[in-house]
Symmetry: D2
Subunit: 383 residues, 4 copies
């Protein structure tokens, strides 16, 4: 195929910091490593609130232009896909407008501040018949995809137990200042929405639907200094940590937990999936590895096997490097966006490998149920 | 000191299988490795139901005589200490009789079938003013003692989160037959009392008192063939697995979970204790090791440190081998019984390092609250 | 700084496969993540033997033009830096020509087929006074840099022992066909030059100069089918594996070993550096981690600490992601090339952090001594 | 079987410290855990130089009497088996006398100070037709036996490479005093005979005979204070560390290394065995585990499997505890002595699972060749 014959599609990116950077990096790398790409993303426009900084970022990343008004970006004629990496309170409106404008949309997780918002968003993209994806990027780790394949092949039997924690430590210092992730009006919730949403998504991905939950939430530090005025304090009104028990629809049981107060845990997402014939373990801090135990092995040869998921036969790895030449966290976005553009160009469904806005809605519903149960002190249905 | 001058004390052992073997082995080794012993245990009598087998075991282990009637053993004049390793339904009566006979008593965990029984037992030993210990042997792993010392030194700061699982897999095969541990009338509960009791004890040991709990229980396989008549089936009426959320009195949060359906987990007791300045990790399958993270380390030198707890400066290790020459599971019993005899001979309190019948009572109360919450679907007070 | 004000420099890349891809990817990413870059690489020209493929690659990577004649590329007016990722037998001539043309030069490792060639190359770049670097990219892993810093701070005391293996498995299948890396005329040597050169470089980097060596080499499979004509076989005339003992100038001892016949080892470069006060361990398959033991810790707190080298305070990491959001193998090239351009733009020396052609020469001299000793069966001086 | 009908055999133990304690502990435990024992060891006599201490030890361990003259012990009528745990310079004479007296003999490793002594000893036991074993206890670790079984089953194919290190750190402090292990007249050699002998034995056990070697030795600290007179210093005349390359008879290659100057390594014996279809790894500090990689696994399921070698189906484990209830270093001696008594009672050969004096002789020959090569700087034949 000739490079010149590859179709292009215009991208409008909302946000240039953490997620904007991760997504843009992926957009640049994708057509190099997944060559020829199903369609080539063209960096049209970048949105940010602060003119100086968004201008600089647009030059740095290679976007044709920048906006300080997201509405204008969404309506930009050349923009055909909206990639929304803004804080949670700015997920709903831009996504809905994008859908209304007939543009495909990728939105960072959690989809919304709560399930009501999520439902509106889901309805909007359905109505508009655009492609929609929630950026649950950990679904696109080769080890995670391999785990899913193992489960589907029956390698660990019927799933009985699911156990996941997502632990970080970045706000443990009492002097760490107030940020949007610590205010409900911008984030919806704390560790739950930020970290918990990932493992709740993976619970559904690996095990299936969740029937009911009971959870507790905890805010260890209730006030934070303002970043600009350290003498003034502001109230933290979201959870620093949560834990919830889960009953799955098919009878499996489990738990999910997230915390921003786990000293030493930098980005520790640990998942254990236990079936009646084996167990699968995953740790995000060692994302190139997957551990598997199966009773199908001969009696004196059973043990946890550590698979370095970097072989050509492993998901996506033929596009990267020779085995053992590991990839990092950023590569999850390349896979994710490749999947999105592959679905777009070849009219494939985003699910089951990617998460749609429906998955995002279910995710918000489950989180709402956890928050509710933390108040009622009782099990709550996850619908 | 001359060997001949070492005082002796007569031991009556109830049970000769798993726990009877582990305790007897420890009684034999203790005076060799902890020489001179505070007092020397003399193997007087062994109890078992089956005459042939208890007779053989008594010869094998070196007991002077055997009984098939536990009451007779407890009343044997030469027996001064009762070590009760019988199934849970046979904890209460022999222990109470022992106390009434003025004999010191060590009882396997869980102390009792439920908190009512435990309370009777605790009152009996208090009334009789005898020494009493519940054999929570994992308190006597050098790594666990070291962890406790670290916490007391403030090495990880104030504890915020506690997370423990105790996972095994020995009943996963549906053909595994009915045993006493799967019947409530003999065991009181399933994974909860057998495995959960250990980590609940360690939760109190490390963090402090538990305020309230909410748990779920699950029985994955509800019927089992009888060992002698595999065509007949009997009902499993205890939990194969449980998970509970914990609120500690001082504000810490946590969870405990035990399962006999965790494929690949042989004896996996994993404990994570997280303070506001660090984290401690322990894994029973690697009991010579302890992992610690502390923010007190310099900024670019922080990481989880794996301490091989086998140095002369580590708890009990000066009695064993050169460093790196590891010990195993059985050594926990040597330490535990050494502690008991040291307290006995030198009139020291069993607590805080050992667990008394009071700790056993609290343990049963917490387990009762978990079982209750599994029925009510609500948080229950742990008193 | 304005993007437009960033100076640019023209790059000519030799080779588009493995190394060409890795270097190009790094050239593209560097100015995004190390913004503003010291100087901005401009992708001018790409060389490859096969027209169709190099043309495609040049489009894919974004080079302005391509060449099938490396001499023409080297002489291209717009090309100011030559990055040579060709097979070993094509290192010498293009690098020397580049120097003669007054162009800066980066060359893949090993620098040359042997020390005679290396010496010519070193003399050429010295004569021309151009910047020169050998692409020992593992020097630019954050964990490796941190290890070097620790050593310089005296964290593990005076170095006594160095132990390194670099193990792979990619040619174990007897049907794996003949490739240039298995023919001496193209590669100079086998596992020694390919893998051993890296750990020999790190031996010098961490410990210092090598006095003498004795080694053995082994070729396990002596004939290979031709890739295009599998019925015909060709002779493997390089080592599949080598092991060598090392005496360092300052009295330290050690060993280096590389093998392409280590089943299960994908890209396993394991380094152990032991000083009189501590030990440092590194494993390339987990390149975000560094393990350190020091006697400076308190007596009962000693253990191997696993540092996840992803904090802002760690080398280069402020340019990437939040801690725990790991990087992969490809990032070593970004750091390496950033260093090169930083030295170029700001007239800093490549050494000691980067490897110069002098380091490349020493590397070849040591490898020559190992090969010689494998023939003589005696210790050989490494000069 | 009745206990009373179990035949007994009289044991004379030479030495009561480290090895005397480890062997006596095993003699006491063996008949309890390996019940009914093939023959029951009866603790007759214990030898030591210092009357007070050997008397105390004999009481502590339960020996009937003690000697301060080893010759008298060897000739004691009730002593039928000599277990020699004395320093290396006292291996030869007592073992030869034991053989001449018609007594079976177990001798600690290394068998002798050098191969000349070893040859005399081997001839003596052959002449006397007594049972003889060198106490290479690591052959009796369940994981090591399992590794051997795997190799014999072809699980990792034909062995190509063997790599072993045995690292400790106990003499790193310059103030650590002179002990017999640091003087050639008592020990024969340093790290080589003490630690290296084990891994050289395992090299032969796993791979087969060794053809030739080249080694280097190093003494990092050349003088030590006397234990009793710290102001006086004595010369260390043995190796603190050695490294040797190995050519095996069948074409495999490898290396062995031991050091007493490896900070953080407490008792780190690491073994890697690589065949053309897989790899086996073992680490003595985690002796309950064995790691295995095999190409026989399906392509996307390959990885290093960590087997917790504690199942009933694993070597010796049916005699101990439920799986996951780990054993420690001392258990190797129970297995070893059980094997010896089983061979004795049932007239089985000690080899191939145990090491005979012939294996001890070969071990000394290989070590002599390593020492010679360290002087000549050339490869030396290992015969």
């Amino acid at each position: 195929m000739k490079m010149s014959s590859i179709k292009e599609i215009g991208i409008g990116m909302l946000g240039y910091e953490f997620m904007g950077k991760a997504h843009t990096n992926a957009l640049i790398k994708m057509p190099i490593f997944f060559y020829p790409p199903p369609i080539k993303p063209k960096l049209i426009a970048l949105y940010g609130r602060k003119k100086e900084r968004v201008m600089e970022a647009s030059l740095r990343y290679g976007y044709k232009r920048y906006y300080t008004d997201w509405e204008a970006l969404v309506k930009d004629r050349e923009v055909e896909v909206i990639d929304n990496g803004l804080p949670n309170h700015l997920h709903k409106e831009p996504c809905i407008l994008a859908a209304e404008e007939g543009k495909h949309v990728i939105c960072e997780k959690p989809l919304a501040m709560n399930s009501e918002e999520a439902e509106e968003m889901y309805k909007a993209v359905q109505r508009a018949k655009v492609k929609h994806m929630v950026a649950f990027n950990y679904r696109f780790i080769p080890a995670i995809i391999l785990a899913k394949k193992f489960i589907e092949e029956g390698y660990i039997g019927k799933i009985l137990q699911f156990r996941a924690v997502y632990l970080q430590e970045w706000v443990m210092n009492p002097n760490f200042p107030m940020v949007w992730r610590l205010k409900r009006e911008f984030s919806g919730s704390g560790a739950l929405g930020d970290l918990g949403s990932h493992i709740i998504d993976l619970a559904r991905f690996f095990v299936g639907e969740i029937d009911s939950v009971i959870g507790l939430t905890k805010t260890f530090i209730k006030e934070r200094p303002l970043a600009e005025e350290p003498n003034k304090k502001d109230l933290v009104d979201v959870d620093d940590a949560f834990i919830a028990l889960i009953k799955f629809k098919d009878g499996a049981i489990g738990s999910v937990e997230a915390s921003r107060f786990s000293a030493g845990r930098k980005n520790y997402q640990r998942i254990e999936i236990q079936g009646d014939e084996g167990t699968i373990l995953f740790n995000l801090e060692r994302l190139n590895e997957l551990e598997v135990y199966t009773n199908k092995d001969k009696e004196n040869r059973r043990g946890f096997k550590n698979i370095l998921v970097t072989e050509k036969v492993h998901p996506f790895y033929d596009r990267w490097w020779p085995h053992g030449h590991t990839i990092g966290w950023e590569h999850t976005f390349v896979h994710e966006l490749y999947h999105f553009f592959d679905c777009l160009a070849n009219d494939k469904p985003i699910e089951p490998w990617g998460a749609t806005f429906y998955d995002g809605l279910r995710n918000n519903q489950i989180m709402d149920a956890i928050l509710k149960s933390a108040n009622t002190g009782k099990w709550e249905r996850a619908y």
